[in-house]
């Protein structure tokens, strides 16, 4: 029997229309705008000035904190400006504007297709390389990879899980790289395995990607690294959620507020594995990624999987792909379940960009909400075992203590509750806001407790 996670989950139509579109390389635009916030954590600090000449793969920004990442130039050219610019949702973020001149790469970067199968043995050096190349998790959260691959002392990784679930409908970029770059991904897994101390690695792929499963299995068999296996998973959303995938693969549950490493798991996306391979074996920083151009109102022949460089304006990509289709009511970056609606097409691609999704009005328009009849469907669908209908009510009445007692902080914002609600109640909208407030309260409390503990420690010394 195929494995999947235990509680909750929904089955949206997977709509993988672009699954057979091979990855194409996008030509370079005239200008790129590279954002300083391409990762979870503190924004990076730019280290280039206007007028500087940069090459592709050159560092242009340094990490702004412990949880932060290097940012590299994706093109060669001249820095035109370092200024705030609107991102996807219209909020300002510092971008480095580079006018493209030719396509010259920084020294030491291997751009050839030759496979480097030899796995390095120096852990610290490999981690350093991953960090210097600005590799972040490409599954959606863009958490800096070197932080996750370096568990806190006392924690031991027992299993590396490669996330090839791609449970979001429409998206096919992970599917394509698993088919076209399967060997590179497996080598990347072997490298991460070595860094984590040789724990077994499992590549979890949902059943709706048979080509990817066979390609990956073949690559694993041909390369012959020890302890790497492919696991076919039953199709269910949100299988690609970290905690859900751990539950599906290892049958373990991460407790509330815990990190995956507490149950011995490290989860990385297959695209991250590819980025790790390129960083460690080819010295190539994370400046390219794959994105899907798809949607329910886009004809099949206009659907694509593109290899893009970070900083390309979305409008440029949309135009190159044939313009915005007629009948598109909403453009989404990411999948239809968790993606973000794009309000500003002048925004640029970032490391974690995964799609340009055109949705028709019929697909995306919200229906009018009616009253909750407490049918409990949302509670059944919640993969974290929460009661969204109750959280919604508590949130509306701002009952923070009760919300915390009902574990609102465990919500992963997957949207299963809202997807399944027969009354079309916008549950996630309210819950997301309340979650932010509750987590703010919890953080403030933790900070106060820490300060009090430090004060108590300092007092006897006086």
């Amino acid at each position: 029997m195929m494995k999947t996670f235990k509680i909750g989950g929904v089955h949206p139509n997977d709509n993988k229309i672009s699954r057979n579109c091979a990855i194409e390389v996008l030509p370079l635009p005239q200008t790129v705008f590279i954002s300083m916030a391409q990762h979870l954590g503190a924004p990076a600090k730019p280290i280039v000035a206007v007028g500087d000449q940069v090459k592709a793969g050159q560092v242009i920004a340094e990490p702004g904190g412990f949880i932060s990442a290097y940012v590299h130039s994706s093109v060669s050219g001249t820095v035109k400006s370092v200024a705030p610019r609107k991102d996807l949702s219209g909020n300002l973020m510092t971008h480095v504007e580079i006018a493209v001149e030719g396509d010259e790469w920084a020294e030491g970067i291997d751009l050839s297709d030759t496979l480097v199968t030899e796995i390095p043995t120096d852990k610290a050096e490999t981690l350093k390389k991953i960090q210097m190349c600005g590799v972040v998790g490409l599954g959606g959260a863009t958490f800096p990879a070197h932080v996750k691959l370096n568990p806190a002392p006392g924690c031991k990784a027992e299993c590396l899980i490669l996330n090839g679930a791609e449970c979001e409908p429409f998206l096919t970029s992970d599917n394509r790289i698993m088919i076209e770059k399967s060997k590179e991904i497996v080598i990347g897994a072997a490298i991460m395995k070595m860094v984590l101390g040789g724990c077994p690695a499992v590549i979890g792929i949902e059943e709706n990607k048979p080509e990817a499963i066979s390609a990956m299995s073949k690559a694993v068999a041909e390369l012959g690294y020890e302890g790497i296996s492919v696991m076919k998973l039953k199709k269910k959303y949100p299988q690609g959620g970290e905690k859900q995938l751990i539950n599906a693969v290892m049958k373990r549950e991460v407790k509330s507020g815990g990190l995956p490493i507490s149950v011995g798991a490290v989860v990385q996306n297959v695209a991250t594995s590819l980025a790790v391979y390129e960083a460690v074996q080819k010295n190539k920083p994370l400046v390219t990624n794959t994105m899907t151009i798809t949607g329910d109102c886009l004809p099949v022949e206009k659907q694509h999987n593109y290899l893009f460089r970070i900083g390309m304006p979305l409008s440029y990509i949309a135009e190159y792909a044939g313009g915005i289709p007629e009948g598109a009511a909403k453009i989404v970056s990411g999948g239809p379940m968790m993606g973000k609606a794009i309000s500003n097409l002048d925004a640029c691609t970032v490391k974690g960009s995964s799609s340009l999704l055109y949705l028709s009005e019929a697909f995306t328009k919200r229906k009018e909400a009616s009253a909750c009849i407490r049918c409990g469907k949302c509670a059944d669908a919640c993969p974290m075992g929460l009661e969204p209908f109750l959280l919604n009510k508590l949130a509306k009445n701002a009952m923070m203590d009760e919300l915390e007692a009902r574990s609102i902080q465990d919500c992963i914002s997957c949207g299963c509750c809202q997807f399944t609600c027969p009354a079309n109640i916008p549950l996630l909208d309210t819950i997301n806001i309340a979650k932010g407030q509750v987590m703010g309260i919890m953080r403030a409390r933790a900070a106060a407790a820490k300060a009090a503990a430090e004060a108590a420690k300092a007092a006897p010394q006086k």
Partner: protein
């Protein structure tokens, strides 16, 4: 039969008397001495329990006043100076006068001034909208138009104007409790001094972007040109983050800034006469020429 009834009456009566005596004694022994002035002050309060004073309700405010024994840090914005005078009389201390305040909505972004660039289809509250993105207009700072302030107002002073898409304030009803200020995720609403006879001048914009970007987003926004700050003879206007802020404690209501503002972002309200731009401009010109002469 009769005896049973009589006994019942006797027993119940005795029981009642005994328990009443116990209750009386307990109430005496454990009585909480409360200053009668608390009740007195509470009666003077508007009774809205709005929390505008910073306390949980009117009684909590009264309690705090009596405990402090003075009114230095206590002020009921809804009751205003009149109520506070009465409270001061009860406490036998000096009343602290505060200029009456009023909520001011600092956004000009009506549908005509600030065209929509996308359509919002999510939950219609400003809070959710602000958490999702910068809003359905080109301006990332102004009113989001979902009416969280209207929902927060307990005095029924705010109404959404469907034509402009902005909230409108009924000054008579506004108690300056500050609930709308807290409810607005964009910080558009400010409590400002009501001014003499309600006259006040303020910048009706909070957009911190630079001029060209602001102009593109909204026709009546503050573009941060600084003409007002340069002209103001009272030093009341500060240009910060590309927005001119008028300090209501320094403003002398001369309306020169309002006349000069190229976009009409500065508003003067409740003035008896309409703004005579030409007269004011002539006045400024004459003053500048005079200053030049003096310099020469």
């Amino acid at each position: 039969m009769d005896i049973t009834i009589i006994w019942t009456i006797v027993v119940i009566t005795l029981l009642g008397v005994t328990l009443a005596a116990v209750l009386f004694l307990v109430a005496r022994k454990f009585r909480v001495e409360e200053d009668p002035r608390i009740d007195e002050i509470e009666k003077l309060m508007p009774g809205a329990n709005c929390g505008g004073c910073g306390f949980a309700g009117c009684r909590a405010f009264a309690d705090s006043c009596v405990k402090a024994g003075n009114l230095d840090n206590n002020f009921c914005p809804v009751g205003g100076n009149e109520t506070m005078k009465q409270v001061a009389a009860v406490l036998g201390c000096a009343a602290v006068e505060q200029a009456p305040k009023v909520a001011v909505i600092r956004c000009n972004g009506s549908c005509a001034n600030r065209p929509k660039v996308n359509e919002y289809d999510g939950l219609a509250t400003c809070r959710v909208k602000a958490a999702l993105y910068s809003g359905d207009t080109g301006c990332a700072y102004g009113c989001l138009g979902c009416g969280d302030c209207v929902a927060a107002c307990e005095n029924d002073a705010l109404k959404m104007n469907p034509e402009t898409g902005l909230p409108e304030l009924d000054e008579e009803k506004c108690g300056a409790c500050g609930k709308c200020v807290k409810a607005c995720p964009k910080g558009v609403i400010e409590l400002r001094n009501k001014g003499p006879r309600g006259m006040r001048v303020y910048t009706s914009c909070v957009n911190k972007d630079k001029g060209p970007a602001v102009k593109k987003a909204c026709a009546a926004a503050c573009i941060g040109c600084g003409i007002c700050a340069k002209t103001c003879t009272h030093g009341a206007i500060v240009l910060e983050n590309n927005v001119a802020y008028i300090d209501y404690t320094k403003c002398k209501l001369c309306r020169e800034c309002e006349a000069l503002c190229p976009t009409g972002a500065i508003h003067g309200v409740n003035f008896p006469k309409p703004l005579d731009k030409d007269a004011i401009k002539a006045r400024i010109k004459a003053r500048n020429e005079k200053a030049k002469e003096v310099q020469e």
